[in-house]
């Protein structure tokens, strides 16, 4: 596991950020608490991070901070839903969903006027799986059903979607992340998608539509 972790010092050297920035981003919830891994080293307890995830995240923050406030970014990285309501057709018009993905989605959902973030996320996961060519339309229904029936139990938390196939028979499962999972030989994982990854992409694509910035203090009464 050591190869997957990066020490705080190495991280700061590699990325050129300062302690202040790191703590600031932590305060603003740009870096999740779970990524701060404490391990003992020869100088005592030290903090480590998951290397790939952390480097990718720092890179994104550095690039985005020109255009977005820290609060907006925190929103984007948070697994909790953004506040949006969008008509299904708009999503296709904005090229967020393909027409096929939306058809499958609506067949399961019935006709709806507007969609909230969680619904759009399900449709978007379906769209990504179809788009990559990993699964076919029939299998799209299986995926959609699984998400519809079970995704709510992960509300506010990250999960991974695995799409499996063995001897032409398809199946789908949801895992609370991070987890190790092993299958018998001959089982193939045809698609693997994480909810947080998809949510992040989706939030970026939705932001021109109507994301309201949800500042953590907004739910409080303004002072008179």
């Amino acid at each position: 596991m050591d190869g997957d972790l990066i020490s705080k010092r190495e991280l700061l050297e590699l990325t050129g950020i300062s302690y202040g920035q790191l703590y600031r981003w932590k305060r603003k919830n740009l870096i999740p608490e779970e990524w701060f891994v404490r391990k003992s080293s020869f100088t005592g307890q030290e903090t480590f991070f998951p290397r790939e995830k952390m480097l990718a995240r720092i890179d994104r923050i550095k690039h985005m901070k020109e255009d977005l406030s820290l609060d907006d970014m925190a929103n984007m990285f948070s697994p909790s839903p953004a506040e949006v309501r969008v008509a299904p057709q708009t999503l296709v018009e904005q090229n967020i969903l393909s027409g096929t993905a939306l058809d499958i989605f609506l067949k399961d959902e019935g006709t709806v006027e507007t969609l909230g973030f969680e619904k759009i996320l399900s449709a978007y996961i379906l769209h990504k799986a179809l788009q990559s060519g990993d699964i076919n339309l029939e299998e799209g229904h299986i995926l959609m059903h699984t998400l519809k029936d079970h995704a709510t139990r992960f509300r506010g938390k990250d999960f991974t979607l695995l799409f499996l196939r063995k001897q032409g028979i398809a199946s789908c499962c949801l895992l609370s992340a991070p987890a190790d999972i092993v299958f018998e030989d001959g089982t193939k994982i045809v698609s693997r998608l994480t909810a947080s990854g998809c949510a992040e992409e989706l939030k970026i694509q939705l932001s021109p539509l109507n994301t309201r910035s949800t500042n953590p203090w907004n739910n409080q009464q303004p002072m008179t």
């Binding site: 302690y19 932590k26 005592g44 739910n219």
Partner: protein, 244 residues
């Protein structure tokens, strides 16, 4: 918070009430509230217990009180002997007296006077303390300004600027000398302190890391790692210093 509640909760003297949604909550004397409170203004003077959480716009707690749940406010002032059982999320938070918070604290500005104990982490953009604290978790502050008046402890401190000093002046020095003789240590003890600018006095730490580090009198540091400059006063004890 909706403005739907139009009635107030007022207790003068000795009384009991149930929680709920209110406009103003005013308890003067001795009052117990069973259940969560959501209100615009929360004011408790005297002795009070809320068996639940408090969510308010403006809070003022004076006297001896307990809130068993979380405290959530835009602005809040606490003076006295107060215990909060959950997390405190307060945009502008001012604490004086002997206050214990079982959970974590999240603020924009936090002012501490007296003796504060926080069992969780403490996050603030600006943290000013004149007094002492014990924080079991991480103190994460954009700007930390700490003037020591007693034994102060934190597990970790991190932020942009960290400044720790002891009150000085002719009278303060005299009092300090007396207190020192009584074995009453006005000192900050922390495991690690990390920041862009770290200026310390009377601090005992295992590791100090920063871009600019200045160590004044009374510092005992096992390891200093600095990227820019290290200024060390003659009275500061540093076992090992590394430029990284």
């Amino acid at each position: 918070m909706e403005q739907s509640a139009t009635h107030d909760l007022k207790i003068f003297g000795v009384g009991r009430a149930s929680g709920g949604e209110f406009n103003d909550v005013l308890i003067t004397g001795q009052g117990d509230v069973e259940g969560d409170i959501v209100c615009t203004k929360f004011s408790l003077n005297g002795e009070g217990t809320v068996n639940g959480s408090v969510k308010t716009g403006e809070g003022s707690i004076l006297g001896t009180s307990t809130i068993t749940g979380a405290l959530d406010a835009d602005r809040c002032k606490i003076v006295g002997t107060v215990r909060i059982g959950g997390n405190a999320t307060v945009r502008n938070f001012s604490i004086g007296g002997t206050v214990t918070i079982q959970g974590g604290v999240k603020c924009e500005t936090l002012t501490l006077r007296g003796t504060t104990t926080i069992h969780g982490d403490c996050n603030a953009e600006k943290l000013e303390c004149k007094g002492s604290f014990t924080i079991d978790g991480l103190v994460n502050a954009g700007k930390l300004d700490l003037t020591l008046y007693g034994a102060t402890k934190a597990k970790e401190i991190g932020g942009e600027t960290v400044r720790v000093r002891k009150q000085s002046g002719p009278i303060a020095d005299m009092v300090n000398a007396l207190l020192q003789r009584l074995d009453f240590h006005q000192q900050l003890v922390a495991d690690t302190i990390e920041g862009d600018e770290v200026v310390l006095e009377f601090t005992k730490a295992r590791i100090v890391r920063g871009n600019y580090v200045r160590l004044g009198q009374g510092c005992e540091i096992d390891l200093v790692e600095y990227r820019g400059t290290l200024d060390q006063a003659p009275g500061a004890v540093v076992k090992e210093a590394k430029k990284v």
